[in-house]
Symmetry: C2
Amino acid sequence: MDGTFIARTFDIDFAKREVVLCSDDAADLGVRTGSRVKVVSKKAASVAIVNTTKKFVKQGEIGLFSKISKELKAEKGDKVAVHPVDRPSSVVFIKKKLAGEKLDAKEIQKVIDDMVSESMSDIEISAWVCALEAGGMTLEEVTSLTTSMALSGDTLELEGNVYDKHSIGGVPGNKITPLIIPIVAACGLKIPKTSSRAITSPSGTADMIELFCNVSFSLAEIKEIVEKTNGCMVWGGAVNLAPCDDMMIQAEFPLDLDPRPLLLASVMSKKKAVGANYCVIDLPVGHQTKLDNLPLGEKLARDFIDLGARIDMQVECALTYGGQPIGRAVGPALEAREALLSVKAGVGPESLIEKSCAIAGMLLEMGGVAPRDRGAAHALEVLMSGKAYAKFQEIIEAQGGNPKIKVEDIPIGRYTFDVKADSRGYVSKVSNSGIKLVARAAGAPRDKGAGVLLAQKVGAKVNAGDVLFTVYAERESKLSNAQVLVNSLNPVKVEGMVLETMNPNNPNIRIK
Amino acid sequence: MDGTFIARTFDIDFAKREVVLCSDDAADLGVRTGSRVKVVSKKAASVAIVNTTKKFVKQGEIGLFSKISKELKAEKGDKVAVHPVDRPSSVVFIKKKLAGEKLDAKEIQKVIDDMVSESMSDIEISAWVCALEAGGMTLEEVTSLTTSMALSGDTLELEGNVYDKHSIGGVPGNKITPLIIPIVAACGLKIPKTSSRAITSPSGTADMIELFCNVSFSLAEIKEIVEKTNGCMVWGGAVNLAPCDDMMIQAEFPLDLDPRPLLLASVMSKKKAVGANYCVIDLPVGHQTKLDNLPLGEKLARDFIDLGARIDMQVECALTYGGQPIGRAVGPALEAREALLSVKAGVGPESLIEKSCAIAGMLLEMGGVAPRDRGAAHALEVLMSGKAYAKFQEIIEAQGGNPKIKVEDIPIGRYTFDVKADSRGYVSKVSNSGIKLVARAAGAPRDKGAGVLLAQKVGAKVNAGDVLFTVYAERESKLSNAQVLVNSLNPVKVEGMVLETMNPNNPNIRIK
């Protein structure tokens, strides 16, 4: 039932805590691929998942990858003892959820504990995500999940009330954070904003902010920045907030799943972990966003509000127009330029200024800075007065950036091409997914200067030959990739008033 | 969108087709852990799943494990091109099933195709298994799944009608194959039996048969053996029948799941792949088997029969008593000895002879060898006449074994201990799971001579000091492991007629 093996170490930094045994030894121990074993060295012990092999390690040997060999402080040739251990009890709870049953708080806590201690395999995390997708969760269960996730990592402790905002994403060019945070912070409310980097989008908020200043800070440093300036704009990935969220995303991504309970718990656990007690959620609604129509958005908004109430957080939701990109710029540097212009002089695109002030205004109303229905106007005043810009500079400086940075200090791609209208008409559509794909093909978010700048948005009247948008790239090869994609996707559509003509012989001909 | 990398090869024979890229290169390609890429060398191309690392490979390098480097015929230093590719469409179908929708035959076929071509990750296979567990399948879907699985590997082609039997397992000591196959084959029916090795049990049928003869043969060899003798008793793992079954088991095992559609399809696809058109399924019913009670067994039996009808296979089911081990021996060598005695002279335990003849008889009735309700009697005649033994010897010889093998030629463990009754009474329980665990602790199935021999079964009257069972082991350390387990599990229970007494002060005292 147990045995002693000679360690062979492999300097491969796989994230998982796995060991490799030869098939005969595994059979002898009564374990197989996917079984758990406790591995004990002279100095430490750890639980790992078994892989079996016929050739990779010999009988009597155990293969240890970097992670586990470090934990065990075991070196090549060391003797380690191996004992089979039972499946973790979280497997029982995953099965229970797959069977459509409700989990209690302790059961959910156990799953999160096992995940955070990195003792769940890919197979088990995938099963958990699928169980939530198939079985759903009551709001009570989501509450337990949110709380467990919030407490699974580090937490930020600030004095007094803490404000926050979050956008569930889906619409490109949504550079509202560098406007909202300075406005709210300038009004004396604490708003410790953490943002993500791009996953599938051409520009995450953290990717853009990085062009102004550092975004990677410890929690202690974040606390100091917020205590000094009332705000921050940092990368959430640098701190250990609700760390199990990332593990679940590792399974959600290949399956293209985003189970509703996880969407809610993912957002709210991170807000809870920074201590927010007032929060606005931005829910972009529109074709090719995460919410196709208003009723879907309203349902999700109610869930966010109800969940907030259960975890002592006052939540308000903004269902926002997401039918085309926000503002005109998509891609880190182009967005940073647009945001800087907007926060500095309020001369950015109307859609950006209006949306930012509306959401900032909701926070100002929640914080008692402005009376109900006066928040957006108050926010706009703060922006136009220059107070928001002064606060922006203060935060940038606190995060190690140059507060005097100008638009022209932010380099953009030197390789560009214009896409022009080939007929007279109106811009009838700017495709969110089309613009995202073109910007990514051009190199965004990794090439910070790559992206798309829209010259026209929906409703604009254009003549043949007018520029519709410009693509920027840092590398010529990327520019041609984007060119190919523009030709096939045609992401900005121009149509005349006659969309189609029909005749009896050829019943459905579309005039471009 | 694509790039060229320098190969670094790692001689590690992981089953999966995975490559390792450094995080920056992955971001540049627009891929992440779990994404798929097409990898093209000068000589070949293959689709693999991405892992990302910060240290293991450097920028510009790609890590290739044995499987993929062999496929690409790529060596260290070779240039390979990498292009992102979309998620396989099977992911869409997995999501559809998770949403509770029905899949059509083409969709199921696509999932099985992707699995067999080894282009699904652990995460995806786990999601598929969970989707079947949560969403279930209609019989129409199970039919498609069974057919796709049957055609996913090799198939056996024999002339005329083909008979088969299968036990879904769960009860230890179920050594009926070496009785049934010779009886049926002796009556002129073709029965190409493939069996499995033990997974969680102390003895798989293939583990036991191996003590008489070889069990690993190619399909061509199996065909030759069956054409010569009408039967065979081989290991299914040596041939490529419904290979995706094993891949799904790799996810079922750690999750402790056995979704009903997969149970049905797993059994029936293998029967279909050997060309069976008549089949008996043995469904052991009883505490600690897979079927707790008769109604559960009846429901499963109906599904097997209906599924059979849809794939042109006449199926009959035997719901069998599974409340305690079949016969007295548990463990490969002990079972082989018991089976040999039984097939040779019909002197084995009644439970084994009766069950074997009943199931063989059903096949004889289906084959028109015996009239309805006379099959079991006919089978017993064939067994007692020595014809079954002659056929057993013929098959053993055809599989390269010694047809004259005697019981004493099969070595059993030299380390033993007896477990004795400590009071007078009746054997009230022989625990299936308790006996399995003790036999495994003693070293079975890897130590072929290890196991348990029951001296008494349920209902036997015993006196204090009578031997209840004997544990056999090949290694002293294993024997002590088993001893510890016997003390804690007490797998054979002896009770007097008074089970409990109660008094007002101590309301529930059990007399042992």
